[in-house]
C-alpha cells in the first residue's frame, strides 16, 4: 500500500512540476508583464525599471531557475501588479469560489445521480426520454449561454434575482444553477449508462430470481457496482472545485479564483498564475488519489492493484 501511495504521490509531484514549467514557458514567452501591467504608453524608462525590479531583464533560463527553486522552497512569490504575496491574493478569493462551486457540486450530485438512476430504472419510458433530453441539453448548452439566459429571464424581465455581484445569498442562485445544470446532465448520463450495464448482469437476475425485493436488489447490488464510473466523474468535479468557473465568474462578476486567473494570465502575473495552478493541480491530484482509494473500497477486486497493501 505504501508503494502504491508513494507511486501516486511521485506521479502527482511530477505532474505539478510539469504544470508550473509549462505555465512559465507559455506566460514568459508570449508576453511582457511590464507592458501588460504598465500599459504600452508607459515611458520606456518606467518599463525598464519595472523589469529590473522583478528580475524580468535577466536571461530567461536564470528566471526559470529562480522561479523553480523558489517553488521548491515553498516560496510562491509576489504579484507583479501590486507587490502583495501571490498566496494571499489567491487565498482571499478561495471563499468566494467555494461559495459557488460547493453548492454547484451539490446540485450536480443531488440532481444528476437520482435522475440517472430513475431513468435507468424506467428505461425507454417517457420519463427516461425526458430526463435524457434535459441531460443532453444541460451539458451541451455552454454555462455562459445558460447564465445569460437565466439573467435575462430572472433578473432583467422578472426582477426576482440579482444579475451578478456578491451582494447577498440571492446572488449565488443563478451562477450555481448555470454551473450545476451541465454537470448534473453529465452525471445523469453516466449514472444511467452504468446502471443499465449493471442491471443487465447475471447477478442481478439471480438476486431477483431468489426473491430479493427489487428495491433491495437496486440498493445492495446494482448501485454499488454502478458507482465506479460515477465516482470517477464526481472525483473529477471535486478536483475542479478550486479552479472556480472562469466564464461563469466573469458573466456574474463574481470575485473568485476564476476571475483572478483571467486577470493574472492577461497581465502575465506569473506568481499569481503559478499559485492558482499549484492549488488547482494539488486539488485535482488529491481528488484523483482519493478516487483511486475509493475504487478499492467500492470494488474489492480492485484492491489487488495496490501492490504492497492490497488484501486478497
Amino acid at each position: 500500500m505504501l508503494r502504491f501511495v508513494a507511486l501516486r504521490v511521485g506521479r502527482a509531484l511530477l505532474t505539478i512540476a510539469l504544470v508550473v514549467t509549462f505555465a512559465f514557458v507559455v506566460l514568459r514567452l508570449s508576453g511582457d508583464p511590464a507592458l501588460m501591467i504598465m500599459s504600452p504608453d508607459a515611458p520606456p524608462e518606467a518599463l525598464a525599471a519595472f523589469r529590473k525590479a522583478w528580475g524580468l531583464d535577466e536571461p530567461i533560463w536564470l528566471q526559470y531557475l529562480r522561479y523553480f527553486t523558489a517553488i521548491l522552497q515553498g516560496e510562491l512569490g509576489q504579484s507583479f501588479r501590486d507587490g502583495r504575496p501571490a498566496l494571499q491574493l489567491v487565498a482571499e478569493r478561495i471563499p468566494a469560489t467555494l461559495q459557488l462551486t460547493i453548492p454547484a457540486l451539490m446540485l450536480k450530485v443531488g440532481l444528476g445521480i437520482p435522475a440517472g438512476i430513475y431513468a435507468a430504472l424506467h428505461r425507454n419510458s417517457a420519463i427516461d426520454r425526458a430526463v435524457m433530453t434535459f441531460a443532453v441539453a444541460g451539458f451541451t448548452v455552454p454555462s455562459f449561454v445558460l447564465g445569460l439566459l437565466l439573467v435575462l429571464v430572472f433578473a432583467v424581465q422578472l426582477g426576482w434575482l440579482p444579475s451578478g455581484g456578491q451582494e447577498s445569498w440571492r446572488s449565488v442562485i443563478l451562477p450555481v444553477i448555470s454551473m450545476g445544470l451541465g454537470g448534473a446532465g453529465i452525471l445523469a448520463r453516466f449514472t444511467r449508462s452504468a446502471m443499465l450495464e449493471v442491471l443487465g448482469q447475471p447477478y442481478i437476475r439471480t438476486a431477483s430470481a431468489k426473491g430479493v425485493p427489487w428495491h433491495q436488489v437496486v440498493r445492495k447490488h446494482a448501485l454499488p457496482n454502478a458507482a465506479i464510473p460515477t465516482v470517477t466523474i464526481v472525483g473529477f468535479m471535486v478536483g475542479t472545485l478550486m479552479a472556480g468557473a472562469v466564464v461563469v465568474e466573469s458573466v456574474f462578476s463574481w470575485p473568485g479564483v476564476g476571475r483572478l486567473m483571467v486577470v493574472a494570465v492577461s497581465n502575465r502575473d506569473l506568481a499569481v498564475v503559478q499559485c492558482i495552478l499549484l492549488l488547482v493541480s494539488a486539488t485535482m491530484v488529491t481528488s484523483n488519489l482519493i478516487v483511486d482509494l475509493l475504487y478499492g473500497v467500492l470494488d474489492p477486486r480492485l484492491r489487488g492493484t495496490a501492490p504492497a497493501g492490497g488484501g486478497h
Partner: protein
C-alpha cells in the same frame, strides 16, 4: 453654593448626552443622499489608485473624485484649465511659476492642506526618487545641500513616470504656508499645463509618510477630493464615501460604489435590472437596446484621445513614404464613423484638440479621402503587391476588429495588399522584425499643449521612436525647440511643421477618428458626462 445631588447629576448627564447625541442624530436623519453603484469594466490596471502608477484611461475615471491638482480641468466644458487647489498663479520668469494655494482646504483625514503637502507631493520621496531634471537631453548633476531622506522604498517604475510628466522640474520652493514656486531647470511654457495633469496630484504628505509602504499608500491615497477611499478591493470593488469637508461644497452622493463587471452584457443587464445606477464602457451597438427602455439613457463623451494607425517605416513594403501617404488617402474616415460608431464621434483635425486654444492649427485636416491620389502614389512608388502586415490585438479598443477589416478593404480598393495578423497582446504587436508593419494605437493629450501629445508619443522619447518604428531628424530637432522655446508664435509654427512631417511628408501615423466613451444611466439622474474618461460626481454636476 449650589448643592449637586446624585439625581441632579444624573439628569444633567442625560441632558448632556442627549445634547451631544441629538444633533448628530438629526444630521444622520437628514442625510438622505443616495448611494450610487457604477458598473465599470476595470477599476485599475495596476491595482493602485495613485495616478503616478495608474496612468491608464481607466485610472482617469477617478480624476475628479479623490485627489486634486493645483490647476483643475473644466469637466463641464472643454477641459480648459480652471483653479483647483491653487486659486491663482503667475510667472516669475520663463522657468518659474508661483502658485497661491487655496486656504481652508481639508484632506480626507481632516488635516489642513498647506504648501508642505505640495512640496511633499513633488518630493523625491513621493515622486522623483533619485532622478534629476533633464534639459535638452542632458541629465543635470546632483544638486548640493542635504540629500532626501527616504523613509520607504519608492516603487521603481514611479520616478520615470514622474519625470515624463516633469522632465525638467528642479524643485518646489515653499514661499509661505499658502504659496509655492515651481522652479524648472530650463525655460518651459508648459509648467501650468503640467500642474493640471494626472500624476501632479497633491496628497497629504503626512499620511504618505505614516503609511508603511508606497504601494500600500497608493491603494488608499489621502487627497482633498470630494470623495475619500473607504475600501478598495482590487479587481472587484472600490467604495468611496463623501468627504463632507470638501472645499467645493458638500458632495451630493453619500457613497459611490464602483463595481468591476468585465462583461459588457452583464453591465447592461445589471443596469436594466436595477442593480447598477450607471454602466460605463458601453459599445455603440448596445445603445439602441438600452434606450429602448425610456427609463435609461446613454451619454456620450468625446474624449481627448484619437484612434490612429501607426506605421513602421522599416517594413519594406511601406518604407517608401508614398505608400504610407497612399494608405492615409485611401481611408474614408467618415464612413467608419458613420458605419461603426453610428455617427457618434468625429474626424478631428489631425493629432490636435480644440482645447489647445492658441496652439490649435485651425486650417489643418487629416489627409483627405482620395482613392485616385492613393492609386497614383502607389504607381509612382512602384508597389508590386508585397504583403503589408497589420498586427491587431482585437478587443483593446472599441470596434477594433471591424475597423481593421474595413481598413483592409479600403486599402485593397486602391491596390494595397494589407494582411491582418491577429495577436494576443502588446508584446506580440511590438515584436521587432521585418514582418512588423502597421498597428493600432490611440493618443491622448494630457494638457493643452502639443508637447503633451505629438512630442510625448512621436518625439524621440515617445513610444513610436523608442520601439524603433519611425524616426525623423527634423522632427527630433523641432521637438527640442517646441519643448524649450518660449516664443509662442514660433512654437505654433514648429507644431504646424511637425504635423506636416508626421501626417503628410513622412507619415508616422494617420488619425482615424476621435475616440468616444459611452455611459448608460438611469434617466432620472441629472448627471452630465464629461468630455473625458473622468466621471464627475461633484455637486455642480448632480441634480
Amino acid at each position: 453654593m449650589t448643592r449637586l445631588t446624585r439625581r441632579a447629576a444624573l439628569a444633567a448627564g442625560i441632558a448632556a448626552t442627549g445634547t451631544a447625541a441629538l444633533p448628530r442624530f438629526a444630521i444622520g436623519q437628514a442625510d438622505n443622499r443616495p448611494t450610487i453603484t457604477i458598473a465599470v469594466q476595470k477599476i485599475s490596471n495596476t491595482n493602485t489608485l495613485s495616478a503616478l502608477r495608474e496612468q491608464s484611461n481607466v485610472g482617469t475615471r477617478l480624476a475628479p473624485l479623490t485627489t486634486e491638482r493645483l490647476i483643475d480641468l473644466n469637466y463641464q466644458s472643454k477641459l480648459e484649465p480652471v483653479p483647483g487647489l491653487a486659486t491663482e498663479w503667475k510667472r516669475i520668469d520663463d522657468s518659474t511659476v508661483e502658485f497661491k494655494l487655496r486656504q481652508g482646504v481639508k484632506f480626507h483625514d481632516g488635516s489642513e492642506f498647506t504648501a508642505e503637502d505640495v512640496a511633499g507631493s513633488f518630493s523625491p520621496q513621493h515622486m522623483f526618487g533619485e532622478t534629476r531634471p533633464t534639459v535638452r537631453g542632458v541629465t543635470l548633476p546632483m544638486a548640493g545641500g542635504n540629500p532626501a531622506v527616504f523613509t520607504k522604498e519608492l516603487t521603481r517604475d514611479v520616478p520615470p513616470v514622474a519625470r515624463r510628466l516633469w522632465p525638467a522640474l528642479e524643485r518646489v520652493e515653499i514661499v509661505d504656508k499658502h504659496t509655492v514656486r515651481f522652479v524648472n531647470a530650463a525655460p518651459d511654457v508648459t509648467i501650468e499645463g503640467r500642474a493640471s495633469v494626472r500624476g501632479s496630484d497633491i496628497v497629504s504628505f503626512k499620511a504618505f509618510n505614516d503609511s508603511p509602504s508606497w504601494l500600500e499608500y497608493a491603494r488608499k491615497p489621502v487627497g482633498t477630493g470630494p470623495y475619500k477611499v473607504r475600501e478598495f478591493k482590487p479587481d472587484n470593488a472600490l467604495v468611496l464615501d463623501a468627504h463632507d469637508e470638501y472645499w467645493g461644497g458638500r458632495p451630493p452622493i453619500k457613497t459611490l460604489r464602483f463595481l468591476e463587471v468585465p462583461e459588457a452584457s452583464s453591465r447592461i443587464n445589471g443596469l436594466l435590472s436595477g442593480e447598477y445606477h450607471f454602466a460605463s464602457d458601453v459599445s455603440p451597438d448596445q445603445i439602441p437596446q438600452i434606450e429602448r427602455n425610456r427609463a435609461f439613457e446613454v451619454q456620450q463623451s468625446l474624449v481627448p484621445n484619437h484612434r490612429l494607425i501607426v506605421f513602421d517605416k522599416n517594413h519594406a513594403p511601406i518604407a517608401d513614404p508614398r505608400i504610407r501617404r497612399a494608405m492615409t488617402h485611401a481611408i474614408d474616415r467618415q464612413a467608419i464613423v458613420d458605419a461603426l460608431w453610428g455617427g457618434r464621434t468625429t474626424v478631428p483635425r489631425g493629432l490636435q484638440w480644440d482645447f489647445y486654444a492658441d496652439m490649435l492649427i485651425q486650417d489643418w485636416t487629416v489627409p483627405k479621402y482620395d482613392p485616385t491620389l492613393a492609386r497614383q502614389l502607389i504607381r509612382e512608388a512602384g508597389y508590386k503587391g508585397d504583403p503589408i502586415t497589420f498586427r491587431v490585438a482585437a478587443g483593446y479598443y472599441i470596434n477594433q476588429a471591424p475597423t481593421a477589416q474595413v481598413l483592409v478593404e479600403m486599402w485593397k480598393q486602391v491596390g494595397l495588399n494589407v494582411q491582418i495578423k491577429m495577436v494576443e497582446n502588446w508584446t506580440q504587436i511590438f515584436e521587432r522584425g521585418p514582418e512588423r508593419g502597421i498597428r493600432d494605437w490611440s493618443n491622448s493629450a494630457t494638457f493643452s499643449d502639443p508637447v503633451s501629445s505629438i512630442v510625448a508619443q512621436h518625439g524621440p522619447n515617445g513610444q513610436q521612436q523608442q520601439m524603433g518604428e519611425w524616426t525623423n531628424d527634423e522632427m527630433n530637432k523641432l521637438t527640442v525647440e517646441l519643448e524649450s522655446s518660449t516664443d509662442r508664435a514660433r512654437r505654433k509654427a514648429v507644431f504646424a511643421r511637425m504635423l506636416e512631417i508626421c501626417e503628410r511628408e513622412d507619415p508616422a501615423y494617420t488619425v482615424l477618428h476621435q475616440n468616444a466613451v459611452f455611459t448608460a444611466k438611469r434617466r432620472e439622474f441629472k448627471w452630465k458626462a464629461a468630455p473625458s474618461f473622468a466621471m464627475d460626481f461633484r455637486a455642480l454636476n448632480w441634480g
